[in-house]
Each structure stands twice: as structure tokens, then as C-alpha cells.
């Protein structure tokens, strides 16, 4: 145990000395802080209207109730604005009191219809009184769910990256060969190197939850998913380390790994449920779907166990496949 902890201390020391650990801790936190500012603006997505400055004040105020407005000078300015890539509806008041609604042609029909309804509603208000609202009390939007889960996955993978880069460094400095003539066993070396891959993500995840204010998330569930997902990152970290003779090949291998990470995460988030079967082979799919559902509060402990079993079984398979290579690479 002492030897194990000394490897962990050595890795931490080496990473701190080079500011690497600080950067790796800081990176997901910087992204999370950015996300914290980004989420409200996405949640506030509403219609956009480009209005002519010559419009009556009452009409401008009416449009402001339903969406974001921009005041522009004249028809040409409105047309130029509407022609830009985002969806925005132009509205102009004619001299006879009527209105012109300008669209580019690729906007959603509902957005254009809304401009018509606002203009028509100004004359006959009150119809919307028949409409009431209630909600199911969800505090986390889809953006927060996907944003938080992807940052957590990134933090987990960065932990694996630290392991991989440390092993490459040890190989380049020939310290691995030196360790083989010490009483330290290979298993102790592997376990010692792995600690950072579990400790870092746990610290990061707690920070992400705190920064994003995800008070309704079950911390126990998040930690179980984080720790089980860290097993994948640790194994990939070791693979990256032993398969790469230098940092260049290490980064190339990391890039390769990132393809599978992105495919698994985007697949879990975007693909229709009946297509998820194509991703069952990937332990990262089970991590992604697990993290997404934990943050969204739509998972039970039984499902957490099920996903964890999938992750451990599939990662175990990957480990068995590459066991020989890992052992050989660490000698």
C-alpha cells in the first residue's frame, strides 16, 4: 500500500511540477463555467424579429413580448439582416398602416406565422386567456443535461490521458526499466498509476455539479457512474501509454480514442432508441447514456447497476484482449 501511494504521490508531484495537473483540473472547470453562462442563453431561445425603426412604438413593444427584437433603418437593412444565416423575421409598417412580413424562405413556418399572429393579435387581444400553463417541475434543461454529462465524460477521459502521458514520459526517461529491478510488483505499479485516474474525475465531477448548481442530481449515482466510467479511461490510459513509443504516437492514439468517445456520446444523445443497439459494444456508450440519465434524473439504481455491469464486462474484455501488450509495454 505504501509503495502504491508513493507512485501516486510521484505522479501527482511530477504533474504539479509541470502544471499539467493544474491544467487538467482547470480545463473542465473553465468549460463548466462557460457552460454556466451559456445555458441560460440557450434556455432563453425565442423568436427573433428585425423591426423597422419607423414602426409604431406599441407594435415594437408587442413584438418584444414574444421574442428578441432588433431595430433597423429601412427595408434594405431589414432584407440584409433577414438574409443572414440565422432565423429572423423582418417586419415593416407601410404608410397605409398595414404591415410587410419579410422572410428568407428557409425559416420555420411557425416562426413566420407567429409574426402574423402578433400583428393580428394587436387588434383583438384576450383570446390567449383561454390558455393556462403548468409544469412538471423539471429544473434542468436538455442543454444542461448534455452539457454537464459531456463535461463529466471529458473530465473522466482527461484522467486517463494523465496516466497515458505519465507512462510515455516514464518510457522516454527509461524509469520503467529502472523500476523492474526494485521490489515493486507490476500490479502495484499498475494500481499506483491508476489512482490518479479515479481521484481526478471524482474531484472534477463534484466541482461540475457545484458550479452548475445541479442540486437535484443524485450525487451517489453520479459518483458510481463516474468511478465505473473511470475504469474505461484508466484502461485506455494504459493502452495509450504502452502502445505509444513517444508523445506524438500517444496523441495520435488519443485522437483515435476520441473518435470512439464522440461516436458513443453523440450516438447515445442523438440516435433514435432503436438504433442504440449498434453502440452496445462500446463501454463508452453505457457511460454516456448512464451519465445523461443520471443528470436528467431519469434513472433508477437497478439501471445504474445494469450499466455498471456492462461497463465493467466490456472494459474487462478490452483489458483481456490487450493484457499481454500492457504487461509487455510496462517492462
Amino acid at each position: 500500500m505504501r509503495r502504491l501511494l508513493s507512485i501516486f504521490r510521484r505522479d501527482v508531484k511530477s504533474s504539479v511540477r509541470e502544471f499539467l495537473l493544474l491544467y487538467i483540473i482547470l480545463a473542465p472547470i473553465v468549460v463548466t463555467i462557460g457552460l454556466r453562462f451559456f445555458i441560460p442563453s440557450v434556455n432563453a431561445i425565442s423568436l427573433q424579429f428585425a423591426l423597422d425603426k419607423g414602426m409604431e412604438e406599441a407594435a415594437v413593444q408587442e413584438f418584444e413580448k414574444y421574442g428578441r427584437t432588433e431595430l433597423l433603418d429601412g427595408r434594405t437593412a431589414l432584407e440584409n439582416r433577414v438574409n443572414k444565416v440565422d432565423d429572423i423575421i423582418g417586419v415593416l409598417q407601410k404608410e397605409d398602416g398595414g404591415y410587410v412580413v419579410i422572410t428568407q424562405g428557409n425559416e420555420k413556418e411557425s416562426a413566420k406565422l407567429m409574426a402574423y399572429q402578433i400583428l393580428s393579435g394587436m387588434k383583438s387581444q384576450g383570446a390567449e386567456r383561454a390558455v393556462t400553463f403548468s409544469d412538471i417541475g423539471a429544473k434542468i434543461s436538455s442543454v444542461a443535461v448534455y452539457g454537464a454529462s459531456s463535461v463529466i465524460l471529458m473530465a473522466i477521459l482527461l484522467g486517463g490521458m494523465v496516466i497515458g502521458l505519465n507512462i510515455i514520459e516514464e518510457k522516454e526517461d527509461m524509469t520503467i526499466s529502472a523500476l523492474s529491478v526494485t521490489p515493486m510488483r507490476r500490479l502495484e505499479f499498475i494500481a499506483g498509476k491508476s489512482i490518479v485516474g479515479f481521484v481526478l474525475p471524482v474531484i472534477e465531477v463534484l466541482a461540475v455539479i457545484w458550479i452548475l448548481g445541479l442540486r437535484d442530481v443524485n450525487v451517489g449515482m453520479v459518483l458510481v457512474m463516474t468511478l465505473s466510467s473511470s475504469i474505461i479511461a484508466v484502461i485506455f490510459g494504459f493502452l495509450m501509454g504502452v502502445l505509444s513509443s513517444n508523445q506524438i504516437t500517444g496523441i495520435a492514439n488519443m485522437k483515435f480514442l476520441l473518435i470512439f468517445v464522440s461516436a458513443s456520446y453523440i450516438g447515445a444523445a442523438v440516435l433514435p432508441a432503436d438504433k442504440h443497439i449498434f453502440l452496445y459494444w462500446s463501454p463508452l456508450y453505457w457511460s454516456s447514456i448512464g451519465l445523461i440519465r443520471v443528470i436528467a434524473n431519469t434513472i433508477t439504481w437497478a439501471q445504474i447497476v445494469q450499466y455498471t455491469v456492462w461497463i465493467i464486462a466490456l472494459t474487462g474484455l478490452v483489458f483481456l484482449l490487450f493484457k499481454g501488450k500492457i504487461q509487455k509495454g510496462l517492462t
Binding site: L20, I24, V31, F38, V42, N43, A44, L47, K65, Y66, G67, E79, V82, N83, V85, G97, G98, Y99, V100, V101, I102, T103, Q104, G105, N106, Y116, Q117, I118, L119, S120, G121, K123, S124, A127, E128, A130, V131, T132, S134, D135, I136, A138, S142, M154, M161, Q247, I248, T249, I251, A252, N253, K255, F256, I259, G267, L271, P272, K275, A296, T298
Partner: protein, 347 residues
């Protein structure tokens, strides 16, 4: 020129030996499989609507129900409880309950809870208009459509992902790879050898940008040919991707110049690449265009790639994007060259 070709040959060989070409091919293959076989051709990215009725319905309410039935993505549920249950499972769902109240139809809209007031007002206005069609008067409104048929809304969903794929893979490819090439030579000390050779630091950096550009163009041709087909504006597409790749490479070069080891630079390269992909959110939700997103160079780049693959008549965005990216690339290239020169002289 001969010196540059020599450097190019060497960098291409290093990239090949370190599996950059292989990884590019595998990534392109996986993206093609995803676009052709995994992503459905038809699926709505809009919120799903579940609706139900309570009690007897008047003719007015039946009119509204008829409209909901014909709406794509709207489904009838057995009860309000069933709607709430489905909404808890899928956060992209809203519910509608139609009932009679004081002899008049009334609508209760069930939301998730994080929606903003403006969206609520817009929903109320729409349903109010649907319940009282006699109050709706569009006679004084003139309709002007600037481009009658842009065709953007007719693109199948799987094909609409292709510009995104080209953006995240070929364009951003050089972002990670270029830094690794530079640090390898930094650590091996070969970069110092160039100081006493006729090779200029600028040529040394350009050679790496060109290798990344080559990888990006091959990847773009493969992904586009096997997903969308050959009927695209190849010249504009390749020029757009080239400008994007050069920008990505020079930005990576600049970030790399600020650090003394690959591992330190890599963390910030990953963070920067994540930030640069934020405009992807605006790709599927075009009304999401806050200033912080639209000023990102990758915002226009993403839409320029789409315009080159699926022309809608707004080719100006392609030229603006190419001009803007190349101008930024020149600045980044100049700054990186200066930093490398200074750090080499210092060492």
C-alpha cells in the same frame, strides 16, 4: 520552393509513420457509416407534443384537435398522467390538455419548468388564435419571401449532418495533429538545427499547415462523396474546408507556441476545440444566435460548408468566411512565427 518541398515530404512522412493518415481514414469511414446507415433520413429535432382531451369537446375544440392531429411530431395520449410520465422520461416533450371550461374550450399547456416567459406567451398566442379563428385577420399583412426556394428545409436529416461531420473531423483535424508535430521536433531538438540551416522558421511552420490541409481535403472528399454524392460545388467546398483547416492549424500553432510541452498545450487545445464547436448548437436551432456565438469564426464556417454542399443561393457567406478565416490565419501565423523565433533565440 525546393526547401519547402523537402520539408513537406519530411512532414508528410512523419504524419504517415505516426498513423495520422490511417486515423483520418478510419474517422472518415466511421462518419460515412453513421451518415449512411445510422442516422435516420427523417426525424424531427423539434419538441415532441403530446395531447389529450378531458370531457366532451365543442366544435371549436374539435377544430383545434384536428390541427394537432395533422401536426408532425404530435401524438395523442390517453390521459394527462400519461403525458406527465412521458415528459419526465423525455425532456424534449411538452403536453397539451384540451377541456371545456364555462362552456368554452380551454387549453392547459404542460411544460417542463425551465421554459422562458417569451416562449410561453408565444404558445398562448398561437393556441388563442387556434381557438378563436374568427378573430384572426391577416388581410393587412403583405408577405415577402426573399428566396422562393432555398431547399434547406428539404435536406434529409442524415445528410444535414454531413457539414457538421466535415467541420468536426477534416477541418479540426490539424488542431490536434499539428501541435504534436511541432513538439516532437522541439523535444528532439531538430527545430534548433533549422536555425543553422537556410530553412526559415516560416517555411518550417507552413510545411506542417500544408500537410494538415492535405489530410483535411482527402477526408472531405471521402466523406462528401460517400454520403451526399458528387453533385456538390467542389471548388467552393474545398476552398471553404481549406480556409477552415488553415485557420485551425494556425490557431493550434499559436496555442502550441505558448507552451513548452505537448501535454500542457494539449489540455488547452482540447478546451479551445470544444469552445470552437459551440456554434454547432446554432446549426440545428438557427434562431439561437447570441453575439458571443455569431462572432466565433466557426459560426460562419459551419454555415459556409453547408452552403457549399447544399447551395441555397447565399454564396456570399462562403466568400466572407474564406476571407475572414484567411485574414485571421495570417495574423496567427505571423504571431506564431515571431514567438517561435524569439523562443529559439532565447534557448
Amino acid at each position: 520552393m525546393k526547401r519547402l518541398f523537402g520539408l513537406l515530404k519530411k512532414d508528410a512522412l512523419v504524419a504517415f509513420r505516426n498513423y495520422f493518415f490511417l486515423i483520418m481514414l478510419i474517422a472518415a469511414f466511421l462518419l460515412i457509416i453513421a451518415a449512411d446507415f445510422l442516422i435516420p433520413e427523417k426525424a424531427s429535432m423539434d419538441a415532441k407534443v403530446l395531447y389529450t382531451t378531458e370531457g366532451q369537446q365543442s366544435d371549436k375544440a374539435k377544430l383545434l384537435l384536428g390541427m394537432l392531429e395533422s401536426e408532425e411530431g404530435a401524438k395523442r395520449a390517453d390521459s394527462k398522467a400519461q403525458i406527465i410520465d412521458s415528459m419526465k422520461k423525455d425532456k424534449n416533450t411538452i403536453g397539451i390538455v384540451v377541456r371545456q371550461q364555462n362552456g368554452e374550450p380551454a387549453v392547459e399547456i404542460l411544460l417542463q419548468g425551465y421554459e422562458n416567459e417569451k416562449s410561453k406567451r408565444a404558445l398562448a398566442l398561437s393556441f388563442g388564435a387556434a381557438l378563436n379563428p374568427q378573430n384572426v385577420d391577416y388581410s393587412s399583412i403583405e408577405d415577402v419571401v426573399l428566396q422562393q426556394s432555398t431547399g434547406i428545409n428539404d435536406i434529409p436529416l442524415n445528410k444535414s449532418f454531413v457539414p457538421l461531420m466535415i467541420f468536426v473531423e477534416p477541418v479540426m483535424l490539424g488542431f490536434i495533429f499539428l501541435a504534436t508535430l511541432i513538439f516532437m521536433e522541439k523535444e528532439e531538438g531538430t527545430i534548433k538545427a533549422y536555425l543553422v540551416s537556410p530553412i526559415r522558421i516560416g517555411e518550417y511552420l507552413i510545411s506542417k499547415v500544408v500537410v494538415m490541409l492535405l489530410l483535411a481535403l482527402i477526408s472531405t472528399i471521402l466523406i462528401t462523396s460517400f454520403t451526399v454524392g458528387l453533385q456538390v460545388n467542389w471548388l467552393l467546398l474545398l476552398l471553404t474546408v481549406a480556409a477552415g483547416s488553415i485557420f485551425g492549424s494556425t490557431l493550434a500553432m499559436f496555442i502550441a507556441s505558448l507552451f513548452d510541452s505537448l501535454s500542457k498545450a494539449m489540455v488547452w487545445l482540447i478546451v479551445t476545440s470544444l469552445v470552437l464547436t459551440v456554434p454547432m448548437a446554432a446549426y440545428f436551432v438557427p434562431s439561437f444566435s447570441p453575439r458571443a456565438v455569431t462572432i466565433m469564426p466557426t459560426y460562419n464556417l459551419l454555415f459556409a460548408i453547408r452552403e457549399a454542399i447544399f447551395p441555397s443561393g447565399s454564396s456570399m457567406i462562403i466568400y466572407q468566411n474564406i476571407g475572414g478565416l484567411l485574414a485571421m490565419s495570417i495574423i496567427l501565423y505571423g504571431a506564431s512565427t515571431l514567438i517561435y523565433k524569439r523562443s529559439l533565440l532565447r534557448d
